[in-house]
Symmetry: C2
Subunit: 713 residues, 2 copies
């Protein structure tokens, strides 16, 4: 059931037989000098070819005048010269059979208008040569596994001898390598780290996917400002779940202030953060928001143990730490296990009277006098079938006692497949041996109970999503696309015209009739009964309420006539030029008001947004987002994601609403935007009235905005 | 304007002339042995008196048979013997003139019923002897300033030679000392750390206040599970603002799971977390939630610089880091400064074309080639009057370049009083000298941009609150207490009875009349006009809607009669025993529905809660909490704290609501509960209708619950 395998194979990039450095420098601190020194000194086993026509020798290696004269095989050209030379160099790579170019040079799209022509030239060179390019304007890549140091900056100045299974892709070179340094200082080890620059060819998503599929990678960290293909991000998240390897995403550029900065930085206009979060949540992308977070979660995954459920037991030598862990579990969606009776009885036997045998279990400072009892407690709790994973909090125990506990835990862990996570606040220098013992048995250790719980919750969240995906029935195939009669050009439709579009997809609307102004004097009675809503129908009044063009609760024909007079009066004052198609008479709908909207986003394609009416969606921003099309089951999931869902589920004595009918409506709207996103820019059903279960839904107002065919979303 | 100075003087506790260790042990790892070794070896300058009748000498020191025989002066007795011996030992302290006892022994209130008698005995001994006691069931105290190590656990096994100005009080000894160790590893230095145990005498609040007022303390960190006097916490927060010294609170026991654990741990039942958060926000308590958080915020305060406003400039060598900082500023309530024109022009001159001169300013990796320009940029930005503080992000720059930058920053900081914060991700071993230079100039350094912004935001938040306090007019004195006619005993009042209580405080209610059932047949018309609401009035039907005892929108007397029949029928089926006082006829009120409630909390005294009606308060939990009494201005503040406040302020084309009248109502309710919290357990006005500005407010429904006089809240 794995999706089609991504075609980019990075083997020759990460493990090149030869690297040519174009713009090679004898100065080991300069950008063209750093990588030569690093490749020479830190263990790289391939060939190093400095390219610089001005020198015969650089840093003790023969220098070549150009790429054509570089010996074969050479798999990577690292380019550190002025930007204007880059397109020709890419073509040179193609001719010389060099498959990859890593371009550190700047001066392209990222500097705005003045760099665009050069970018276009680069794009052509890439297309013509079929060379795969990292960058331009990137900081290069590092592969600790192959001692491949094709880049510059502080982490390229020393050897990275610890080789891990964590890969990283970063859209900001400077920041990404700073994160790498910090994470290494906290004990994480990487295999491949790639700075993607302005992504003229290989995108961050290409790189993430290629790294994720490698056998030497167990997870990928990504620092993202924005991606160009949001749907690919969705698919990639699914792939991550299928592979059982998470993508830890650090997403920035989310605030308005941040977005401005991101735009001027990589020229990747960031799409809405809400869409990203929705995409992350539907796959195997877990958001992190600082280095500690990244390190902790990676560490928890590295242990390789997956909990069977959300039930956690906490064993602590400090009541305070136990309380804290319990707090955090609650907040993070983990449950404190209700221990079995046998376990509780056994604990009572093992522990002194003033200990707490309820979960979180407080073995107290008595551990200093009796460490064997502590190990017994852990054993008993770990065996309890009510417990899915165990957190052991050892506070600042260090030295020999810490080693003794570590030995016991290692033995117990070996006899169980449940995750066993340890919090130790002991300083490194007084707990090195204990930590070594735990590491050897792949028991992850965390500085604080809070960081431990956060990491455990992330692992469980990934596992929960993975199971949902496995259980998920195949989506119901969307029915055939239906034809629409749409006027040409970009324009806003009137309510009545909008409803015609909706009806083509059988989206239920309130009963209504459009009466031309000239017909109105002849009518003497409502064809729909009372109470009645009257509106002016006009494409020029998208905000009818503000124009005074809506009246509700009309109780007889006299009131209708009077209302129409007043509305015409008010609308003419508000928008003298507005063309009025007629008067729209509608039945009054009843039920809970919700909003269903749809739009086509440049990066994520057609999307649907759902929220409860009025304040909920518009003031509190309590909405959920789905990627169209959605079948009815998926639409139901969307409804259940809003915070205020209980309003529809029967909170405060209300009858439960007709969620089936609402899900059906959302699904239809999603198909409409999915089928016709090329012409429909926006659909807004506000409000939709949701009746009690079984009584259906009705869109009371609707607005459809068209765009020109071919116009960019 | 400082509040009255707290009377506890801890000088002799922290800096004792002599310490007696009762239960002294020759074993240096045992609880009675650790402190003797620490006092002997780590620099303590007072006298050490082991007390143990079984030995003549312990760890090379003469041992005394009892406290009476210990030489004078001795200021502290550290008690490490079985709990049952403690009360007598406290009396011994009193007789021997030992002012403080630190009791490590357990077996009191914290173990439940079986420890209560011993606790009572201890309480009596404390009262009789006037000895000030830390504990029992605590882990002791450490004062690095005086090399005073009166406690046990890992941090008591080595000397703490770095002495800072940060004090800590912890309700969990094990966890608190673990936090101390971690924070020290991150570079924070403490002066006094005290574990408060089960607080038989000196409470955490006593200790926090005493430490906060000491000249050698610049801030106090506190790990709290719960306090017994919430009002004192409020006052203490105010004192912190007045002193300009923050209290960093790590509050746990907030979740239901956590509270259970806290109850079994220190027997301090935690009050509601919402009350704590409200109390923190009204004073100088800043919440932290992990060690990193604590360290970062303490470090930012230690620099001693306070921003004049919320406008931040960011200068970064990595665009990515700048984007991240901008994101975080936005989230944390800091504004990115709009740089002045002169600054922008100057930056354009200084920076290459592909840099960003907008804030956040990206000087790019060009800093590697031209570090002087970087210093120029910082200078120009620091001088801009639009900028209140500056964040400099240096990514992983290390070695000589880092030292050069540090030198420039130190020089610039010396010429400015604006806060200048640095983010450096360079490993310690490659940036020690740069860090030393920055530290010498009190420029705080943070691992990541996120941690930097979080800390800067905390400092600004404290300063913002401090200014609000200084500007705050004195509260309007509450008018005289009014007498109430209340029935004896604990009971729920009917709506009509409840309204009588409200009217005594002139709280506006909808016009209504209570008609006895037997009078009803004689009436032929509504005395209040139509539409009308009819309810059954009964103290036995506190939830009228569920009992079918409310009918709204009645349009004539026939409808009223019929409604009464139906209500009686329905109520009799629902609660056959309910005593019905009569039918309450009310005018239909109009406006926005809000909820105003009041209650008397065991720890925080009388409190008022406010929220918008229906879902907002009850489902979304969007409420604000105030401590009664509130004057009208304070009540207005309460209204402005809810998320959905815009509904009342005129969102979505609604007219602004009558906030003055609403604030007046809230203030009256707050005085009612403040004056009569001894009898009134609960007041619930739900809903109150708030009309448009100028048209007033009306409580439409009300419920007052009484308790027995003298009954505990």
């Amino acid at each position: 059931m794995l999706d089609a395998v991504c075609e980019v194979d990075l083997s020759r990039l990460l493990d090149p037989r030869g690297v040519a450095i174009v713009g090679a420098s004898a100065e080991v601190r300069r950008i063209g000098g750093q990588p030569i020194r690093a490749l020479k000194e830190f263990g790289y086993r391939g060939a190093i070819y400095p390219v610089n026509p001005k020198h015969g020798e650089i840093q003790g290696l023969p220098s070549y005048p150009d790429l054509a004269s570089v010996p074969k095989p050479c798999d990577v050209a690292l380019i550190c010269v002025a930007g204007k030379l880059v397109p020709d160099l890419i073509r040179d790579c193609g001719r010389a059979g060099i498959g990859f170019a890593v371009v550190l040079s700047a001066g392209f799209r990222e500097i705005g208008e003045s760099g665009r022509e050069l970018q276009r030239e680069l794009d052509r060179a890439i297309r013509d040569s079929a060379v795969r390019v990292i960058g331009p304007n990137c900081q290069g890549l590092m592969s600790t596994v192959y001692a491949n140091y094709c880049g510059f900056g502080a982490p390229f100045l020393y050897a990275h001898t610890r080789r891990g299974r964590v890969a990283m892709v970063t859209q900001s070179g400077g920041f990404g390598y700073a994160v790498m340094g910090l994470a290494e200082a906290e004990g994480l080890a990487f295999n491949h780290v790639i700075s993607s620059g302005n992504e003229a060819d290989l995108s961050s998503l290409d790189l993430i996917e290629a790294l994720l599929r490698r056998d030497d990678t167990s997870l990928v960290a990504a620092y993202l400002e924005g991606v160009r293909d949001g749907r690919r991000l969705l698919r990639l998240g699914r792939t991550a779940l299928q592979l059982g390897k998470p993508i830890l995403v650090w997403k920035v550029g989310n605030s308005q202030a941040g977005r401005r900065a991101a735009a001027s930085h990589t020229a990747n206009l960031s799409a809405e953060y809400a869409l990203y979060r929705a995409a992350f949540a539907q796959g195997g992308c877990l958001e992190v928001d600082d280095v500690g977070d990244l390190v902790d979660i990676a560490r928890a995954f590295e242990s390789g143990r997956v909990p069977a459920g959300d039930r956690v037991a906490v064993v602590s030598i400090s009541g305070g730490a136990g309380v804290l862990a319990a707090d955090r579990c609650d907040k993070a969606g983990l449950r404190l296990a209700a221990l079995g009776e046998a376990t509780t009885a056994e604990l009572r036997r093992l522990l002194p009277a003033f200990s707490s045998v309820a979960n979180p279990i407080d073995v107290t400072a008595q551990v200093f006098n009796d460490s064997a009892a502590f190990a017994q407690v852990v054993r008993v709790v770990l065996q309890d079938p009510e417990v899915d994973q165990l957190m052991v909090l050892t506070a600042s125990i260090d030295g020999a006692l810490a080693e003794q506990l570590a030995g016991s835990l290692a033995g117990l862990a070996a006899g169980s497949d449940k995750p066993l996570l340890v919090n130790s606040s002991a300083p490194l220098e007084r707990s090195a041996e204990a930590r070594r013992i735990l590491a050897a048995h792949r028991i992850a250790v965390f500085d604080t109970p809070g960081r431990l719980v956060r990491a455990a919750a992330a692992v469980w969240e990934f596992e929960r999503r993975r199971r949902l995906l496995l259980r998920e029935p195949a989506p119901v195939p969307a029915p055939a696309r239906r034809a629409l009669q749409l006027p040409a050009g970009a324009r806003t439709l009137s309510e009545h015209e909008s409803k015609a579009v909706l009806r083509a997809y059988d989206i239920p609307c309130v009963p209504e009739v459009l009466v031309a102004l000239q017909d109105l004097p002849g009518l003497t009675e409502s064809p729909l009964g009372y109470p009645l809503v009257a509106k002016l129908d006009s494409a020029d009044l998208p905000h009818k309420s503000e124009a005074g063009a809506v009246r509700v609760g009309l109780r007889d024909w006299g009131e209708v006539r009077q209302a129409v007079e007043q509305m015409l009066d008010s609308a003419r004052r508000h928008s003298p030029q507005a063309r009025i198609h007629g008067v729209l008479l509608q039945s009054m709908a009843q039920g809970t008001e919700v909003i269903v909207g749809a739009t086509s986003n440049r990066y994520f394609g057609p999307t649907v947004v759902f929220g409860l009416g009025g304040i909920f969606a518009e003031v509190l921003n309590d909405v959920s987002i789905g990627f169209a099309p959605l079948d009815a089951r998926q639409a139901r999931g969307l409804i259940e994601q809003v915070q205020a869902r209980s309003v529809l589920q029967g909170a405060r004595g209300r009858p439960p609403a007709d969620l089936d009918a609402l899900a059906d409506l959302i699904s239809r709207v999603s198909r409409l935007i999915a089928d016709h996103g090329d012409r429909i820019a926006e659909i807004d059903l506000n409000p939709v009235f949701v009746g009690a279960a079984g009584s259906g839904v009705q869109a009371a107002d609707a607005l459809v905005v068209l765009r020109d065919a071919g116009e960019q979303p």
